[in-house]
Symmetry: C2
Subunit: 578 residues, 2 copies
């Protein structure tokens, strides 16, 4: 490794001083001695050297995206083993769970972002970042076309190409408007770039409402804030906005205090419907007390510049609601570059990239996908049941003894995570319980008995939610795989292969749910904690504060975020339109 870094530093020297016209370089790399002599003019020395000095044993890895998945992949990756390039249109990582707080200034945007280069510089330049967007994945030639994205900047954009041996796609998702007309044009979205715009728009709505010569109706329109989507993000935004208005804005715009209204539109029957029912009800009650109108069972048909048009599912009635601002916070859409790639590899009809349990994209070699742009397409036990039985039936009697069953099922348990979930749901303590008959006896099984024992297991298959938690765990898992790629290829640690021979090199990815929070405003929050615990109220909000502070990616952002909370308590939130 030491020789490596000498090599890199010398190569760096060439990059820095390419005008040196004569260069005699002796490298002693671990693979053996190498003498490079070059007599060249300024200008062509760089590409020549780069080609000469490329280390054949280092595979080129490109990571697309620096969200939760991308950053946890990069953070843990042993970058001495690969030639790593990261392509991302943003040169920072954003702690997205605090975005709703940013929209109203409880926390500053800058407090939740950390420059990627700060995260990767500890690797002494082994990971290179290109601030650009990948516009095309050419899977056949293992090439990427990228373009820099300097928006509203005098710096012109440029296109370039990157080769890869391994590609990790972690580009996340974009907002899904479900093709609702007018949403893109008139709604706000909870992305980093938008959070600050939302803050400005909220203030604009108030400033507009207090201008002279406005009718009360116009004022009410300007001060009607609509949130579409009753998931945790939409709910948290509505709660934060309510706090901002009640704690700060009505004090400086007292004349319009009674004209403000927040409406939350949810197509389902309850808000927070991925949470425990107690939390949904608690949230709805709290919002009721706060005066946030929750319209469940409503679908948005279109959004114009003045009104949002909704249809009440139960009655089929439509109505047009005048608004000042709409936040669209529902659904996960596919980015164009992923869409295009999916078409190349025959996944064109899917919404997100399908990967196997090892996060490898199906239908494309050496391409991996993590986070919101992908979902693990889990295999059903029932599809493989014949192969499993054959592998288990060592003595080829057509009957599995209890021992044979036990032997195979340990691997099945690892390979098919739904088995674990099924056993938990049935309160089974050990694998052999699967074979227990109605009298409670365990017995040997033939293929039909085996099938029937496992027939309900697949019902427990769950697709993972598009959350930061899943993305971060996937990124960390994948980096561990790459860090041990050589070892594990030689000495596999994964479950037995039922289709082929031997074992899988790695254990498949397994998601560990650590709980979920929903801040509800007024210093109250609800949480689902591991072990089916449910917590609600003020103390949960303090738990939220402490967990979110501890989860920050750097000490800098931790200090800033805590400082922002402190600032909010002392000075309130700022209403400057900046």
């Amino acid at each position: 490794m030491r020789n490596f870094s000498v090599f890199r530093k010398t190569a760096q020297l060439f990059d820095d001083y390419p005008s040196t016209s004569k260069l005699l370089v002796i490298f002693a790399v671990s693979a053996g001695g190498m003498v490079a002599y070059s007599e060249s003019q300024t200008g062509n020395v760089i590409p020549k050297l780069e080609n000469n000095h490329k280390q054949p044993e280092k595979k080129k890895m490109v990571v697309l995206g620096t969200g939760w998945a991308g950053i946890s992949f990069i953070k843990d990756l042993d970058s001495s083993k690969y030639d790593v390039k990261v392509v991302s249109p943003r040169n920072y990582f954003a702690f997205t769970p605090l975005l709703p707080s940013v929209t109203v200034g409880t926390v500053e945007a800058r407090s939740i972002v950390e420059p990627i280069r700060n995260i990767i510089k500890k690797r002494s330049g082994e990971i290179k970042l290109c601030e650009a967007e990948c516009t095309k994945i050419d899977a056949a030639n293992k090439k990427l076309i990228c373009k820099s994205t300097f928006e509203n900047s005098p710096v012109p954009n440029r296109e370039f190409t990157l080769d890869y041996d391994y590609l990790v796609i972690a580009v996340g998702a974009q907002v899904n408007t479900f093709n609702t007309p007018g949403v893109v044009e008139h709604c706000h979205f909870l992305k980093v770039e938008d959070a600050q715009k939302i803050r400005r728009t909220v203030v604009d709505c108030f400033e507009q409402a207090v201008l002279p010569e406005l009718s009360e109706e116009e004022k009410r329109k300007n001060l009607h804030f609509v949130v579409v989507g009753g998931g945790p993000t939409g709910v948290e935004f509505a709660a934060e906005l309510h706090d901002y208005i009640v704690d700060d804005l009505v004090k400086i715009y007292p004349e319009v205090k009674d004209l403000v209204k927040i409406t939350l539109i949810q197509s389902g029957d309850h808000i927070l419907n991925t949470f425990d029912e107690r939390i949904s009800l608690f949230a709805e009650e709290k919002f009721g007390r706060d005066g946030i109108e929750v319209q469940t069972g409503c679908r948005v048909i279109s959004v114009s510049d003045e009104t949002i048009n909704v249809k009440v599912k139960a009655t089929g009635e439509s109505c047009a609601i005048p608004y000042g601002m709409v936040l669209w916070s529902t659904g996960v859409g596919t980015r164009p570059v992923v869409k295009d790639f999916m078409e190349q590899i025959g996944q064109g009809r899917r919404r997100v990239l399908a990967t196997d349990e090892w996060l490898r994209v199906k239908g494309s070699d050496d391409v991996y996908a993590v986070g919101d742009c992908a979902s693990v397409d889990q295999r059903k036990i029932i599809d493989d049941i014949g192969m499993i039985f054959a592998a288990a039936d060592v003595d080829k009697t057509g009957i599995l003894s209890l021992e044979e069953f036990q032997n195979v099922m340990d691997d099945v348990r690892v390979r098919y995570p739904q088995l674990e979930l099924y056993m938990k749901s049935q309160h089974m303590m050990e694998l052999a319980d699967l074979l227990r008959d109605s009298d409670g006896n365990k017995k040997e099984v033939g293929i039909e008995g085996f099938k029937s024992a496992l027939s309900h297991v697949d019902s427990q298959m769950k697709s993972l939610p598009a959350t930061a938690q899943v993305a971060a765990q996937q990124g960390a898992y994948l980096s561990r795989c790459f860090n041990h790629l050589e070892d594990c290829t030689a000495n596999p640690v994964g479950p037995r292969r039922f289709k082929g021979l031997g074992r899988h090199p790695f254990q498949p990815f397994r998601y560990r749910h650590l709980g979920q929070f929903a801040p509800l405003g007024g210093e109250q929050a609800a949480a689902e904690l591991p072990g089916d615990w449910v917590a609600m109220g003020h103390s949960t909000q303090w738990l939220w504060y402490s967990i979110y502070a501890s989860k920050q990616v750097s000490w800098r952002t931790r200090v800033l975020v805590v400082g922002d909370w402190f600032k909010k308590f002392v000075f309130g939130r700022d209403s400057s339109r900046i």
Copy 2:
């Protein structure tokens, strides 16, 4: 006053609950009892009430702008005496001297702004703010046409009209490009809205430079930062940028460390040429050591998207300099609304509004102008000398006795501030010294002798610089005038009128120079302090820190700014492109 506020609160109630259909209101105002009975429908209740309850004795005052001049006017104004409306396109006040720090993230933009409504809310709503821009001053009809300015916002803009009895113009200035082609399109300016863009562009330039496939020449171009204008702002920006690059950016972009260049272009012979010469030289030497190239005697001819074209004055040579970013920081230009107003009142050929020594706009009644949009058009003594003599010569002998001279000169000293400056420049201790002949004797004078005694005084007339200090002092002065308008009209406190009879109601505005700072980077600053003191170096930077912290407009911004400085020392500046 107490009755007033009851009245206001009740009126407020009407605004808040205009849907009440029957209202019986009894008001007991100081002027006497009044019964208002109104039976009305929702919608027309507001204008009716507003008209009914207007207090005839309160004059309508409109203030345009919330910069240094505007805010110090509002802050000290006794708003119970006027019906005050403030029109400003920004709902916040920005502490502009820290803008250069904002451009590189030493201080956050949000830390130097304070919402106007926070400043005015202590007046319990007596001052109303409209977030809008005045697009037309109709001086003949005492009307203003205003338009809201919700940029990049879904909230539509609207136009409205305001009447005024008194108008205070404090709209500041805009950048003066001297009609140089390409400046508006390609350069950055040091206004609040731009400071954050500049920060983003600096990071963009670095990100662009480290993209693959760039030649060294292209990298050098991207990393060439040009500052046009060697005044305090330009110099401070160059210094801040240098610190940002050296302290922070080269650590995370080490590969382009040696390609970065900062050039400061100044048309004069020295930078900081409004400062003491020692400071100019100190700054030039410091910049020389830091590697900031100072090109004096250079004029910018044009700016294209790739190069900035300059002409060296001495040789007449032109050259095109490739750049990554240009900051334009020179000159003060006129805002369109002021330009238009100046044409209405016959000041069309001037650059800024001319006011008299009481800050009243010449040629327009009841209009006042403060800050960068105006300059005091001081009267020359020599123009009034006949009238002064006539007023002084009480016994009409054609000769001024020493006593007569003394009597008039106290008023002259107040009325014509150049006299004070002249006496200081001639080291005169008392007014009678003006009459001292070459032998040192004081003697009586006739009109010719009087003229000759005062003949050089007008040479000391100085126009005030366009600084925050001048603007703030003017705003504060004018508010004091308005606070005492009634008293002082009855009992004038100003100097004797020479043209008319009696005295001026107020003392004329007098500027008190409190010194000036020029931070030079690397924790060093230069300062001109009162009493012709000059200070340079590290301790001056600490003086700068303490003075700028103390000058903050609120405790909130004070804590934030000091916190930002602290943050910079601990964590460095952020390089996230957000």
